[in-house]
């Protein structure tokens, strides 16, 4: 890919890929940082505090 202007279809494929990647990223953040299930909470406890997520 170069810096020249992108075609409509290229831009649309980038948008689709970016949205998909961002959703996976969001899923990881929710799972590791926010789900309150005991096992996950205990395993991620210190990191949740250190990363500034609301914890218990």
């Amino acid at each position: 890919m170069t810096t020249t202007t992108l075609s409509q279809s290229e831009a649309r494929s980038i948008l689709g890929a970016a949205v998909f990647a961002a959703l996976i990223g969001l899923g990881i953040i929710v799972l590791t940082g926010h789900v309150q299930a005991d096992t996950l909470h205990d395993a991620a406890h210190d990191v949740r505090h250190a990363t500034g997520f609301p914890c218990h």
């Binding site: 890929a17 990647a21 990223g25 899923g27 990881i28 953040i29 210190d46």
Partner: protein
């Protein structure tokens, strides 16, 4: 395209996450363990009339507990990296130049969005602090992060005063509205520990995000063949 986003994000996220985990273990974890001595009642600093040492013996490296922390930190920053690189890819289609150098600015912006904006009213919590219901805090946290993300995108890519005014409004609104607060204060942890914890959490968070932005910009510019 998706594979390239995934590759850049996982390299950047894993590397930044690993370094962040080590910084947290060195600078944040001892403060957290110290606070837990008060949370669990091993140390009490109110009403005893006695003086409590500010330098108690703390547990050392715990392979399971700290190992899990390292894994989860790498996961969290990989998750953030996926969103960051996705945003970089979109910005690039709109003419933004992505490199390790500009990645630094993306990193600072990421820190502001997910650490500083929510932490401004919902300060990083040391174990044992009094806090409102966790669900209410999580809802407020996500709303604030989304508002800050939109605001910084408008500041960076918006054109004209209306976009910038909207950005300022979005940055201020969650804090004018107010974060969920506890009804009473019940935290047993000395304020010195709480303040140090918040400062350390912010400091390591900033280092983490600057690193993440730099690495994400670097790997993404290599994927897309642009020079740094």
């Amino acid at each position: 395209m998706f594979t390239r986003i995934l590759t850049s994000a996982l390299f950047a996220g894993a590397a930044a996450g690993l370094i962040t985990a080590l910084l947290q273990l060195w600078f944040v974890q001892p403060v957290l363990l110290h606070a837990e001595l008060y949370e669990g009642g091993d140390l009490v600093h109110f009403g005893t009339g006695s003086t409590v040492t500010a330098h108690p013996d703390l547990p050392g490296f715990d392979a399971v507990r700290d190992g899990l922390s390292i894994v989860f930190t790498m996961l969290i920053y990989s998750g953030y990296a996926l969103m960051l690189v996705a945003a970089m890819a979109l910005a690039q289609t709109r003419g933004a130049v992505i490199s390790a150098r500009t990645g630094l600015i993306w990193g600072v912006a990421g820190f502001v969005i997910v650490h500083f904006a929510p932490g401004f009213s919902l300060a990083p919590e040391v174990p044992g602090v009094a806090a409102a219901d966790v669900t209410a805090r999580q809802v407020w946290w996500f709303a604030t992060v989304i508002a800050a993300a939109v605001a910084l995108w408008l500041i960076a890519f918006g054109k004209g005063w209306i976009a910038w005014a909207a950005a300022v409004g979005l940055l201020l609104a969650p804090h004018v509205w107010g974060a969920p607060e506890p009804d009473v204060f019940a935290g047993p942890v000395p304020t010195e520990i709480g303040a140090l914890f918040a400062a350390r959490a912010f400091g390591v968070g900033l280092a983490a995000w600057v690193l993440l932005g730099l690495l994400a910009g670097h790997f993404w510019s290599r994927e897309t063949g642009e020079s740094v």
